[in-house]
Amino acid sequence: MSKSEPVAIGVSNLSHTFGDFPALNNVSLDVRPGELLALLGPSGSGKTTLLRAIAGLARPDSGVISFQGADAEGLSLRDRRVGFVFQQYALFRHMTVADNIGFGLRVRPRRRRPTRAAIASRVAELLALVQLDGLGSRFPDQLSGGQRQRVALARALAIEPQVLLLDEPFGALDAKVRKELRQWLRGLHKETGLTTIFVTHDQEEAMELADRVVIMREGRVEQVGTPAEIYDAPATPFVCDFLGHAFRFSVAVQGGSARVLGADVATKLADGPALAYVRSHDVAVAPVEANGVAARLLALRGSGASLALEFALPGLSAPVEVLCPRVNVAGEDFVVGADYVLTARAAHIFPAP
């Protein structure tokens, strides 16, 4: 990222340990104004700790966080104007939905506090925005998970935050509601234009929703980029493996290319041993007469729109799973126990460790 681009939130050299466990290890990140950024990683990768540090809920051991270029060190939780949506929503259970949403306005110092009527009309606006009109007098335990999530969002938006932070926003919801809310959140982001950061361990969610994705692992940033960038050009084997199931081969690079699963793949690596990662759906399966690597079909599973074929490859201890769209294989009869030929359509090559 070039230096001239504006930065809404700057994170530089942030480190944080819990006891002996390094939750954040020298993390630096620039968040652009108005973007929807995903922090993606497996559990324990430090993504939630980073989000909480930005919000001011966690005090990092070292490093600097800045808002609009100004150091946030001295800013308390209250002064950061950060809208934080908690993983379990953390709605105030003894208050109605309307009181929950209006909370941030009611607790302002008297000088800046809106009138009762102004708060009520703002709450009504927000209820409409999150499509919960008419539910203002309900209590949180009378709402569904998806509705609670939207109340939490409206409550965070009420304080007119300069940035919206969401911790695993869809973690506690079932698959269908999750999908609907995802699209709705995308629309809301477009409407409000608010700089938004959300944490997720679901790569599909991150890729579908975010403008840019930050992949984290063991307290470090592995790669930052648009979903297409990180998918097409993973910077590390970890990123490659994390975004879509991949299997690994030891290969030899010679003259700018390596032979991976019956195909020649170009690489900038120097000659020598290397590791090639092939994603499950980047493998072509053909009858045994074709060119490629022979493999025996061990098992066959149908899952929705695609078929999962499990092959035993000579020289690999674990079976290899290949995904093909169901339409491509219709009419073909795969026979478990028969031999086929596999060819890599694409591969990512990394230096051998």
Binding site: R78, L91, F92, V107, R108, R155
Partner: protein
Amino acid sequence: MRIASSVTGESALVKYLLIGLALIWLAGFLLLPLIVVFVEALRQGVGAYLTALVHDDALAAMRLTLLVSAIAVPANLVFGLVASWSIAKFRFRGRNFLITIIDIPFSVSPVISGLVFVLLFGAQGVFGAFLVSQKIQIIFAVPGIVLATIFVTFPFVARQLIPLMQAQGIDEEEAALSLGASGFRTFCLVTLPNIKWALFYGVLLCNARAMGEFGAVSVVSGHIRGLTNTMPLHVEILYNEYNFVAAFATASLLALLALVTLGLKTLLERRGGRDVKI
């Protein structure tokens, strides 16, 4: 064929036998003594009952009991809140130790609790010489009674709050702070409403024990009529003097306190059960 009365398959006979036994047990050990207290108190009529209650020494004992619980209960309310807040919301060294020592008054005989204060503050005690030189009297005086009562009753509020606060976590407090509320407003608007029923409940139990405490108070009080006699001590003195009507009249007030406590407790559990989800 008869269908068994429940899935576990006891016959109706076993069921009624068990229920009957439980009821007889309760009646014999709990209800009967309660009835006896009131019957004995009213044995010589309402006039004698009321005369016994308005006797100077009886009134002094009531005043002292009210005074002691008026100090001990608020003190333990504050202590209980602080202790359970720290235990439930912070992680620190010695946290488990704190949880353990809160329970000491439950596990130690009240007589020992009283004795500890005598050993600390009595004329021959650790601070005895200093207290005598400053002309401060703690043992065989009201301060000693208050201290012993605070000691004996201090787990009640904390014990009610700790599990509830631990279950609730700190998410709501964090949310309130991130929405711009001050620490004090967060406490008043978020923390307190979430624990109010458990808090009432703890205070209620704490008060019942504070007013009824005998052992610890007996050791430090010195039994000076009209000065350091609380109601339970007053009952004992009257009883030892064979003044049964007066003894049971005072005892009936304590029994009444127990009944009111029980009633309020039931009410609170009903309210609390609805409002507070643990």
